[in-house]
């Protein structure tokens, strides 16, 4: 029975509705994609989220600024330290608190380690979606090394609640520099192995090169930011464009792609990991001694006013908007999640692709539903 194809005026084509439901071997979280397919070709896609909507913003209105990282960690759980950094930058803008040097260096090191861990997860997930089994294990080995360092410093493998108002919650242990210096060559070696496994692999290249190319204007119109936008050729990185914390002291390159296809987006993240290693090396050398937390007022009432902080999270550009009204708890904490915008872009990106390619495109945008749903 032929019905009209949604989104076109072709009434001769038949289509079947397939539900790539919340539970799926390759969804990166609980997102539901309703696809209308004609054979193997996706004609239209309607993404549906809300399966992980837990009210992070509502609960953040019950918490003081000391308790705030606990709940915002759980929004983007793969890059928790970057979210904490963004939240605390906004809170420090609001409270007008200065951060000592040592704390800034520690924050940068932790945020960049978290970036590497996140990209390793992306690498594993993309490799698995492309049909391989080893990339996940290779990527996770590197994550475990980083988790050990996190556990020494913050006490938790994930969801650390470490970056606090005015600095960090506690000082790093005495052997911090040694333990990070020890893992840097291990991570570099692991990164080389990850490169060697997938980047020039015939099957991977055949599956991802030329898939879903984008121009910078198209990408900006869809709202893409972060590595997916840099892959299209626009050298936009908030650490360079609007430097926050002490990123303007470090020498690092911003990798830029050419075509904007899935292979380029993958390469962006691998190259970014290398740059993160450079940043960590420079930060370790330059880290001074001193206070790990600045002067914070005794009564932590939110000042009346607003603050908006933009940081470059591994996924894209994270915006945190805090509105205070003189009470112990915030009036509004809004997390502008890059993943939210990227999922809405799926509607346009998936038109005309094959179902197997749809999975790869979804993986290449590095979406975490905890952030999109909050």
């Amino acid at each position: 029975m032929a019905e009209a194809v949604p989104g076109t005026s072709d009434s001769n084509a038949e289509f079947m509705q397939i539900n790539m439901g919340p539970q799926h071997p390759s969804t990166h979280g609980v997102c539901r994609l309703e696809l209308a397919v004609d054979g193997e070709v996706v004609l239209s896609c309607r993404p549906e989220i809300g399966y992980l909507h837990r009210g992070v913003e509502k609960i953040a209105e019950n918490l003081t600024v000391i308790q705030l990282p606990v709940i915002t960690d759980r929004a983007d759980y793969l890059s928790a330290l970057n979210t904490e950094l963004g939240v605390m930058l906004a809170a420090e803008q609001l409270y007008e608190v200065a951060v000592p040097e040592r704390a800034e260096y520690i924050r940068v090191i932790m945020a960049e380690l978290n970036r590497i861990a996140n990209h390793m997860m992306f690498y594993g997930a993309l490799g698995t979606d492309a049909g391989f089994s080893s990339p996940f294990i290779f990527g996770w080995w590197n994550r475990e090394i980083i988790h050990d360092v996190f556990e020494e410093v913050t006490g938790a493998r994930m969801l650390h609640n470490y970056i606090a108002l005015g600095g960090v919650k506690q000082d790093v242990p005495a052997n911090f520099k040694d333990s990070v210096k020890k893992i840097l060559p291990q991570l570099a070696d692991g990164l080389d192995r990850c490169h060697g496994l997938l980047t020039d692999n015939e099957i991977f290249v055949a599956r991802t090169k030329g898939l879903n190319p984008l121009t910078p204007e198209e990408a900006l119109r869809l709202g893409l930011t972060g590595p997916s936008l840099r892959a299209t050729g626009l050298a936009r990185d908030l650490r360079r464009l609007a430097p926050y914390s002490i990123y303007d002291r470090f020498e690092f390159e911003v990798p830029v792609g050419t075509v904007g296809d899935v292979h380029d987006r993958y390469m962006m993240r691998l190259l970014e990991m290398r740059e993160s290693l450079r940043i960590i090396e420079q930060a370790l050398e330059g880290m001074p001694d001193g206070e790990y937390r600045g002067e914070i007022p005794r009564r932590l009432r939110y000042p009346v006013g607003e603050a908006y902080s933009r940081t470059e999270s591994p996924r894209g550009e994270l915006g945190i908007y805090i509105v205070g009204d003189g009470q112990n708890t915030a009036h509004r904490v809004k997390i502008r999640a890059p993943a939210f915008v990227h999922v809405s872009a799926m509607e346009e990106l998936l038109k005309g692709t094959y179902i197997a390619d749809a999975v790869l495109i979804f993986a290449s945008l590095d979406i975490v539903l905890g952030e999109a749903d909050r």
Partner: protein, 189 residues
């Protein structure tokens, strides 16, 4: 060919954006406020569409990214506020639009024709604050179910912390052991 961000043109400053806003948006009925983090323009709700169109069409300063549409609930005034943050694609400055509507008639025109990403942001604001965006192409709930909308309003109910003593009493004092069958009739029967 990599495009350098803020290529040949100098990036706009906050003052130049404020001047542009005074020239373009004040005639529409907006009030420009400069002493905040970004240049802010407070608008009545009817003028929002024209202002968003002007921002999307503007070439210098150019704004390409709609970052988010945040809702705010001010229960003392009985008003809802929508805050739109726009940022440039090739530079780091931004402009903010603020719209205030009364709580019982929260009608705001949609801007999803000029800004495609506003589609989902407005659906989320509808879910969380019960805004009504006129002309929205697909005003279905995004995050919450229809009977649970309005979650971020100040009077939305929340659950109390459970009484742990009650919970323990409910579960009885059965030990959480697994080494023996916990139901006596199985053991005996």
């Amino acid at each position: 060919m990599a495009q350098e961000v803020a290529g040949s043109r100098p990036a706009p400053t906050k003052e130049s954006i404020a001047d542009w806003a005074r020239a373009t948006l004040e005639p529409m009925g907006g009030t420009v406020v400069v002493d905040r983090q970004f240049v802010e323009v407070e608008l009545p709700a009817e003028k929002l569409r024209a202002a968003a169109h002007a921002i999307s069409e503007s070439d210098d300063p150019e704004f390409r990214l709609l970052y988010d549409i945040s809702g705010l609930h001010w229960p003392d005034d009985g008003e809802l506020e929508a805050v739109y943050h726009f940022f440039g694609g090739w530079h780091a400055e931004g402009i903010t639009l603020r719209v205030r509507v009364p709580e019982d008639r929260p009608l705001i025109p949609t801007i999803s024709e000029d800004w495609p990403t506003a589609n989902w942001h407005e659906r989320e604001a509808m879910d969380l604050f019960l805004f009504e965006f006129e002309g929205h192409p697909y005003p279905e709930p995004l995050l919450l179910e229809k009977d649970m909308q309005g979650a971020l309003l100040k009077h939305y109910p929340q659950r109390e912390a459970p009484d742990m003593v009650e919970r323990f009493k409910q579960r009885g004092d059965v030990p959480f052991e697994i080494w023996k069958a916990v139901r006596p009739e199985i053991e005996n029967g």
